[in-house]
Symmetry: C2
Subunit: 451 residues, 2 copies
């Protein structure tokens, strides 16, 4: 009996050892291909420099969809198609302006996405609050004023996404919470650790119970300046913004597919989102995820890997201000009764890989974690329970698909996020490529062993 158990053990070990070697070799092949012949960086250059910002509804959105279709084909998709969905069409409408006229100081501001324009210029006294708690305590002082939320991006969290989660409520609901007490507009301190003065925009959501009021993000230096000045004396700020919605338009998810050789009806999804905010080029957010997604397609073809399951490479529409693309993708999957076994998203920037966040069962997580030693040489050293990204969230909710998101190093992400410096020059070629290497390796393992 003992010998028998021992024999099984040895035999298991031998098989496992062989598989490990085979998998290591395949992952090395994938890595060498991407690091030597990679196209992700050149593709990102085209997307950012030739097309540029591509907010839902813009001309560039259409250009980006066409570019995506062409690239799916060139990269070796068995087929590629557009999946239509209606997307909101918010426009900035002009140059956002804010000034403290009494001190002749122009403030660097950007209207928040989805926010309403001021119409004519608003001039009103500013009330600074450091938190929602302070807003509630001073609610009687708010009427007729501009509320300046000066809530700090917490430096003590190591993951900057934790600081973001902590602070983003001021951007998302700050306007309506101030409008509730009669504020005329809000100025929101940008969610960033950066040392520059670029304001960081992003979506707000109005609470329909209250009046819609203008809302702008302000750069960090100007936020500190305004805060300092308000210690000395009361101030009036003049604000003019022109944001508004046009009619919704047709947008599209761009989908490329490698059809599975053994399980064509079992689908693995990889994706990033094609839209971006308007002030910059959307290089990290989420040009990186887009070109990494396409790079995995190109690489599987280049190394001759034929997936057992169907793999869909998806460039999602409208992540930033509506999530219509991700929602449409999941709804159609449900309507067609598709079987989705896994989805992976890259939407945290093209930075050096560190981890993967996973939303699925404990057993599935354990299986993923058993592969960490295969990924670690390429950067991913931990896979933790968490969630997938925004675009594959609906797939998880509607179809219970296990989802994951790449967690690259987060230190620089909020230097660029939704700001005018989210440009190609701030993406490092190697970091971008290594992200694609780890994504491709993970997909290879899931395709081979299931989940």
């Amino acid at each position: 009996m003992k010998n028998f158990v021992f024999a099984i053990f040895v035999s298991l070990f031998a098989v496992n050892s062989f598989s490990q070697t085979e998998d290591s070799a395949m992952i090395k092949k994938i890595s060498d291909e991407i690091l030597t012949n990679g196209k992700a960086y050149d593709n990102l250059r085209h997307l950012t420099k030739q097309i540029g910002a591509r907010l839902s509804g813009s001309t560039q959105m259409i250009q980006a969809e066409n570019w995506g279709m062409l690239l799916m084909n060139e990269s070796g998709a068995d087929k590629e198609w557009l999946q239509e969905c209606m997307v909101p069409h918010w426009v900035r409408g002009g140059k956002d302006q804010a000034k403290v006229k009494s001190l002749n100081k122009t403030l660097d501001v950007l209207a928040l996405g989805n926010s309403i324009g001021s119409g004519k210029e608003i001039s009103a006294p500013v009330i600074l609050v450091n938190s929602f708690d302070e807003l509630e305590k001073r609610k009687d002082e708010v009427k007729g004023k501009i509320v300046f939320y000066n809530y700090k991006f917490n430096p003590t969290f190591i993951s900057t996404f934790q600081s973001y989660g902590d602070a983003v409520g001021y951007r998302g609901s700050g306007a309506s919470r101030a409008a509730k007490y009669g504020a005329l507009a809000v100025i929101v301190r940008s969610m960033s650790h950066s040392a520059d003065n670029n304001p960081h925009t992003g979506a707000l959501r109005y609470d329909t119970a209250f009046k819609k009021i203008p809302a702008v993000a302000i750069g960090l230096r100007d936020a500190d300046w305004l805060s300092d000045q308000l210690q000395k004396s009361k101030l009036t700020v003049s604000l003019k913004t022109d944001g508004h919605f046009l009619d919704s338009v047709k947008g599209n998810n761009v989908i490329g597919e490698l059809t599975g050789s053994e399980f064509p009806n079992e689908i693995i999804t990889i994706g990033g989102h094609l839209d971006s905010w308007d002030p910059a080029e959307g290089a990290h957010d989420d040009g990186a995820g887009v070109v990494q997604t396409i790079e995995i397609l190109r690489t599987f073809k280049a190394v001759g890997y034929k997936p057992k399951h169907t793999i869909r490479f998806v460039l999602f529409a409208n992540e930033e201000n509506g999530l219509r693309g991700g929602t449409k993708y999941a709804e159609e999957a449900k309507n067609k009764n598709e079987k989705h076994i896994f989805a992976l998203e890259s939407d945290a920037g093209g930075f050096t890989p560190r981890g993967v966040s996973f939303g699925g069962s404990a057993e599935q997580l354990k299986k993923l974690q058993s592969w960490v030693s295969l990924l670690q040489p390429y950067g991913v050293y931990e896979i933790n329970a968490g969630g997938g990204g925004a675009d594959i969230g609906p797939l998880n909710r509607l179809l219970k698909t296990p989802v994951a998101e790449m967690s690259p190093d987060s230190q620089r992400y909020f230097d660029y996020h939704h700001a005018r410096n989210d440009v190609f020059e701030n993406v490092n070629k190697r970091e971008l490529e290594l992200g694609a290497v780890n994504m491709a390796a993970l997909i290879y393992l899931i395709d081979k062993y299931g989940l």
Copy 2:
């Protein structure tokens, strides 16, 4: 017996558990201090922007030493002093020039450090070799020519330091190996993955058996251009460099000390090097290591941590082209019969922390590795056998001191290394600070528990 063992186990576990909690709390305190009140970034700004490049022998070397002394004092050292050592004084002597006159193309080149000037312009046919092997095979063609080493920085190694180790021989000994066969000068492809055209300088060492010939690094785009042109036709390059040595001068290690409360005669060293190559600001190499070193001193004082062992914070002189500072530090330690229990260096750039490389016994390595779970929340997830940095190498060789070096993420290091873009703007504040956090945490643990 069983109960007794169980009791010991529980008691050990409780103690260990308490210590872990206490250590976690202390490391969190250190981290919060650095990430909230850190001075490393401002100090780096001063070193790079107010002082700038500080090659051994330059006026800026003296300025940097004076700045270092002042900062040690301001940051709370019990005492600070200069440790004198003679340093070489190589100067570039002018603007390095290279041109393919027949095609009216100026090449972007930088003379290698320690290299001899061409005197008057050298014009000679170019022979391209892709490796030393090729040089040996074609040695009969070399006489009277300029050898162009076009050896590629290997993209398939994940750690860029591996690519560097693989390629740096062309910079170090390429000139003499070509001179052996009668070459007049060498052009060396820069050791970098960067997408720009900046040439990367660095030290060469002449083999005294052969004639000293001029040597330049060439930017990657120009290297590719030159390689392409040489496929089409033979070319002559004209080269002019003016590098030469002046008399050696007095330089200094800058040393600050916190005297140990229990073991004042047992010394822990932390350091980076103060000198830098002349084309840029030496921001990553090694301004980062310098300001991180001082930041740990400041932080220990700020959080009220009184080390049991003596901790020396050392800004080493002349790492780049002589290692005189590191050598002097170890020699004096040996002469004075000092007891050095550990040394830690930061000289791989101010990038996000990932690992630590350790040179010491297997038992010591195991002890260090037992602390990884305490460091992991701050970025360091692995401690591997390897070595310390260059400056503490002599301490390891002469006194058998266990040594370690920070291994931050390496992807961007060789975009900047010894090139004109190694400037303050390319250092991220948070990454720099997190390096200091992990270094401080490691030193705290070694001071508390010994090694």
